[in-house]
Each structure stands twice: as structure tokens, then as C-alpha cells.
Amino acid sequence: MVKKCWSSRKRIFVPVLGLVLALSFTLMSAPADARNIKVGIIDCYSGPPAVYGNDALNGFKLALEEINKKGVLGGKIEFTTRDTKFKVDIGLNLAKELVMRENVDVLVGTINSGVALAVSDAVSKKEKIPFIVWISKDEKITGAAGHRYVFSTADNTAQGGKAGGVGLAKKPYKKYWIAGDDYSYGHAIADSAWRNLKALKPDVEKVGESWWKIGEPDLVPYFTSIMSAKPDAVILCTGGASMTNALKALKSTGMAAKIPSWIHTAIDHAVLKPLGAEAPEGVMGTIQYLFYYPETPENKAFVDAFQKAYGNPPGFPAFNAYLTAQYIADGFRKAGKIDKEKFVDALEGLKVKNPVGGTVEMRACDHQAVFPMYFGVTKKVPQYDFVVASDVTTLKGIDVLPTCEEIKQSRKK
């Protein structure tokens, strides 16, 4: 009985082996002169952050479709993905594996700032591999911890906070309360927003702060206590799943109607869409990409193509990733050959097509992509069954970034 089992397995094994051999021969015999550019993507494709990881990947794929039709230096851009599971050690190992074993030409990723900073330092800087960060928002990536081989197409906390500060400075509020997730992202946004607001409008006053643990399910007690302190406005520094909790609590406590609040990325439709009509109105937010604004033909074409391919409109990670793909393609085209040093040189100051129209420059001094930020207020509109940003004002990219001088100072420390 046992013997029979074995022999039947062998019978399958032989043709399978044949097939594998045949396949590997055909692959090996493919022409190897114009080589493809290999991009290694490390990002989180499991757990809650996967929403953003997948959106970015879709934006990247969409851009590649167009790019690969034309080709880059006679070849194509190909990519391979690795799931970091939102863990620094795993992300670091995967990045090393992509560089050592897969010989990727460029590394791209990731949503986790910890992973981005670790890979930037231990892999990109050490092995001299270009690394383009596309979602994580830690300002250290292209700020204090920046170096020759790291680039960012993501907005960062300095930028997000500054956008909030610039936007809020135009409002009449004087007494502010600051609250948020008690971890690096929350504090970084709060510091940047408050610093910039205070610089532009010295008479603002901070009446109090509250910080909750990341993932805190019930923000109602926090908001009721803020309401009893009666500030003019609130700077809320939260993101991810806590953002939804915050918006729900803003609505259920009635705080949204009583005290204006600003939350960076509150107008992100990935956050607003699941809430549908129950999202609060009147919440101020900032973001670098909205699929419905500005209403340019370019943006419409981008949204239509994305919608057709993936069934939903693009979010800001898709926007960042679309830029990333173009930087890789145009960077190598400008470099003239697949050479990492030439590629880095080529990227500095390179301008690529912005999917909403115009161009986006890769600032040479800190390797940060410069794009505008949109400041808007949540509102119900008849066209959509979810709340969107209204009264959108555009803040110029260069106005919401730290200056090159500030970057230099931060890197000296």
C-alpha cells in the first residue's frame, strides 16, 4: 500500500520536473542585451496598513503600464514586492535580501517610518542603493537622517504640520488645544503645526494638550474633556484607524459642530469613504492629493484610468507611487545607463509629470519631491455618498516645506 503511494507520486514528479526544466531553459535563452531595470518594493501588505500599501502599488503599476510601452533604455521596468508586516526587523532583512540576492537597482517603500529609516541607514546608505520612500511621513527621512541615496515622494510631518500651520494662521482662532496619538507621528505633526502657526501668528495661545495611546478605541472622554476647556480650535494629530475613531467621536459628541478642528489627512477619502454620510462636516484637513480636485483634464484621465483598472479612485499613496515610477523611468533615461550613481545625480532637480497637471520637482538639497498641499473643510455634497473636502485652497509646495537652510542645520546636529 505504501509502495503504491510512492510510485504514484513519482509518476507526477517526473513530468513536473520536465516542465520546470523546459521552462527554465526558455527563460535562460531570452535575449539579455537590453536589460530590465529591477525595482524592489518593500511595504506592508498585511494588517490595517495594507490599505495604503496596496493603493501605492496600484498607482505604481498604472504608471509602469505607460512607461513600459515606451521602454526605458531599451528595456522595461520590472518590480518585485516583499511584505514587511509593518515590522522593522523583517523590513530590513527583506531590503537586504532584495539587494544581495535579487540585485535590484532601486529600492522603494514603505508605510512604516521605522522601516524606512532603518533601510535608509543600514541598506541604502551603506550599500549605496537608491531608496525612494513613498508613504511614510517622518520628516527625518529627508531631513536630519537624509543622505545621498535616499529620496522621498511622500509628504512628511514637517510639511503636513506646516501646511496646517499656514492654513490655520489665516483663521481667526486664538486659543488652541492640541491632542493626538502618543507616538512619533502624532508629536511630530503637533510640533511642526504649532511651531509654524506660532511663527506666523505670535498671539496664538496653547490652552492644553491631551495624548492617547495609539489605537485607542474610545476617544469620547478625551473630546468631552476638551470641550469643557472651551478652546477656539483644536489641532488633532492622529492617523490611520484612530483617524476614523476621531472623526466618529467628533460627530457623536457634537464637537465638530461646536469647536473647529484641524487634522492632517482628515480629507483623505480612504478615511472619509468608509464613514459615508456619518462623517462630521466642518473638519479642516490637509493632503497632497484629491481625486476630485483640482478638476483638470489630466487628473480626470488619471482617476478614470485608475478607477477602470482597480475599481476605486486613487488615494494619496497612489499619487506618491505614480510620481515614484516616473522618477525611476525619467531618472534612468536622463542618466543614460543603468548606473546607480548616475541615477542619483539625474534625480536631483528632476521634474516629472504631476498626474493632476504641471510638474513635480525633486528638490536637489534634500531629495524631497515638491508638490502643493490642499487645505479643505469636510462637507456633504450631492455628487458623492460620502463627505468630501470643500473650499479647497492650494498651498504652494515650496511654502510648506522646510527651507534648504533648515535642512542643512538639522543634518549638522
Binding site: 498585511s46 494588517g47 490595517p48 495594507a50 490599505v51 496596496n54 491632542a179 502618543d182 492644553g208 494638550e209 491631551s210 495624548w211 492617547w212 495611546k213 489605537g215 485607542e216 478605541p217 474610545d218 469620547v220 472622554p221 478625551y222 468631552t224 474633556s225 476638551i226 470641550m227 469643557s228 484607524a241 484612530s242 483617524m243 476614523t244 475613531n245 466618529k248 467621536a249 457623536s252 459628541t253 457634537g254 464637537m255 461646536k258 480612504a270 478615511v271 468608509p274 464613514l275 459615508g276 454620510a277 456619518e278
Partner: protein
């Protein structure tokens, strides 16, 4: 500095948070008491309850969907737990606690991935019926209406659970099995099925907690881990396996958090945990009598 309105609103809000914690923790405590299983997957079942509630409200629109979800989501969770109990847990009751801890932890990871496969990774959200939307002004402070509903449900669950364990035959058997399972077996009762029933009931409460919390939060992967640590702390300070202990623990946790936020907002996170430390120093086995 703090007016009555602020104190009052924090009290109500903390109390209503405590009610959700109680519903979940009473289930965890029941399973701990009767089965002696520290079920880490209890949080996952709570998460499945919330996700099921989401699916049910998607199928049945309007307020009817919410009420149906409140009844059916715990039933879905009970079914899942029934399968888990008969297929897995029932073979493991004799193992030591560390093994059970590892096993239920593994199960929580598996259930987490199952939720991702079934519902996807996106945030989900459901709406409470119109009746509970908005807020009520009490002494100048506004309190969400839904929280009042929670204040009603918590005591209801407590009374129902008390009646069940004290006034019904199966409840009494379950309590007896918690104290001495050999003796219960010796008098001719099928202990295995008593355990299955107790486990399913405990998990039903996890599902109910998930359905109750669903309209107030973002329904997302990871909500299980946030809850389970708090839940274990609560049943520990309350007294392992004691239902009223779960109530006391939940009240301590919910109220210290709500008042901590008011008095010292920068460091509000530490207050409930400080309370846990103090309780455990003062009464190492919990506030009320532990059945362990």
C-alpha cells in the same frame, strides 16, 4: 477649575465605556472561571462580532439592520466559537495554562488573518440608528446619545447573566463545574457539553461587545489586540472568573480613564494602568473573590 458639567460628562462617558468593557470581560471571565482557559482569542471573537455587525448592516439597510446586527452578530460569533470548541479546545482542557495561553494566542493570529481574508484590510464603519445619533446636553456638557444606550445595555447583560448562572439548572451546573469538574462528572453530567456551552456563552458576549462597539469606532484589524490586554487586566483586578468582579474592574478601568483625561490630559494613558497596579498591590487576587 472643573465645573460640574465637565465632571458629570466624564462620569457618564466613563461609565458607558465601562459597560462595553463589562460585556466583553464578563464573557472572558466566565470562560476563565468555568473552563480555566485564558482565552486570548476572545479579542478576535470581539473583532469578528464587529465585522459581522458590519456585514449585517450592509445586508439590511436602515435601523432594522442595526438591531438585527446586535442579535445576529453575537450568534455568528457563538457559531464560530462552537466549532472552535468542539474541534480544538475540547481536546486541550487538561493541558497546563501556558500551553493554553500559547494555543489561544495562535488561534487569535489565525482568526485575525481569517478576518482579513473574509472582510479585507480596509477600515469599516457602521452607523447607529437615527435615534442614537447626535448628542444630549447634560449640565452644559454634551454626551453622545449612543452612550446612554450603552448605559442601559450593560446592567441588562449583568442581570441576565446573574439570573442565568444562579437561577437556571445549566447555569448552576456550569458554576459547579468551575469549582470541581470531577465531582460534576461523577454525578452523571456530561461535563464536556457543559464546557462547550459555557465557552459558547462567553464568546457570545465577546460578539455582543463587538456589535455594541461597532457604531462608535473604526472596525479594523488590530482592534482585537487593543482590547484583549485591557480585558485581561480587568478580569484580573476584578477577581478571576467572578462576573461581578468583571463589572467592578470595568468600572475602575473606564472611570479612571475618563477622569484621568480630565485632570491630567497629557498623561491620561497611565491612569487606568496605575489603578491596576494599585489594586494588585492592595488585593493581589482582585477586588472580589476569585474562583481560581
Amino acid at each position: 477649575m472643573f465645573d460640574l458639567g465637565a465632571l458629570g460628562s466624564q462620569f457618564f462617558v466613563g461609565l458607558s465605556r465601562a459597560m462595553i468593557l463589562f460585556v466583553v470581560c464578563s464573557g472572558l471571565s466566565f470562560v476563565l472561571g468555568v473552563l480555566r482557559v485564558p482565552n486570548i482569542a476572545h479579542g478576535s471573537l470581539y473583532m469578528i462580532g464587529a465585522f459581522s455587525a458590519y456585514s449585517i448592516t450592509k445586508l439590511v439597510a436602515g435601523p432594522a439592520g442595526f438591531w438585527l446586527a446586535l442579535i445576529l452578530a453575537p450568534v455568528v460569533v457563538a457559531l464560530v466559537s462552537f466549532v472552535a470548541e468542539r474541534a480544538l479546545f475540547c481536546h486541550l482542557y487538561q493541558r497546563e495554562h501556558l500551553m493554553l495561553l500559547l494555543f489561544t494566542f495562535a488561534l487569535s493570529l489565525i482568526l485575525g488573518d481569517l478576518v482579513k481574508i473574509v472582510w479585507g484590510a480596509e477600515y469599516k464603519s457602521i452607523m447607529a440608528p437615527e435615534l442614537f445619533n447626535g448628542s444630549v446636553s447634560v449640565m452644559g456638557a454634551s454626551i453622545p446619545r449612543y452612550n446612554f444606550f450603552l448605559l442601559l445595555v450593560g446592567p441588562l447583560v449583568a442581570v441576565a447573566l446573574w439570573l442565568f448562572t444562579n437561577k437556571t439548572k445549566i447555569g448552576k451546573i456550569a458554576r459547579a463545574a468551575a469549582v470541581d469538574r470531577e465531582m460534576v462528572g461523577a454525578v452523571g453530567i456530561n461535563v464536556s457539553w457543559v464546557f462547550a456551552f459555557a465557552f459558547v456563552l462567553g464568546c457570545f458576549l465577546a460578539g455582543l461587545g463587538g456589535a455594541l462597539v461597532a457604531p462608535t469606532v473604526s472596525i479594523t484589524l488590530g482592534m482585537d489586540h487593543n482590547l484583549i490586554i485591557e480585558a485581561f487586566l480587568i478580569v484580573t483586578i476584578g477577581g478571576l472568573g467572578n462576573m461581578w468582579g468583571a463589572m467592578v474592574g470595568s468600572l475602575i478601568f473606564g472611570l479612571t480613564q475618563a477622569f484621568g483625561v480630565l485632570f491630567w490630559p497629557q498623561f491620561a494613558i497611565v491612569f487606568p494602568y496605575m489603578a491596576v497596579v494599585i489594586v494588585l498591590i492592595w488585593r493581589p487576587t482582585g477586588m472580589l473573590k476569585s474562583v481560581w
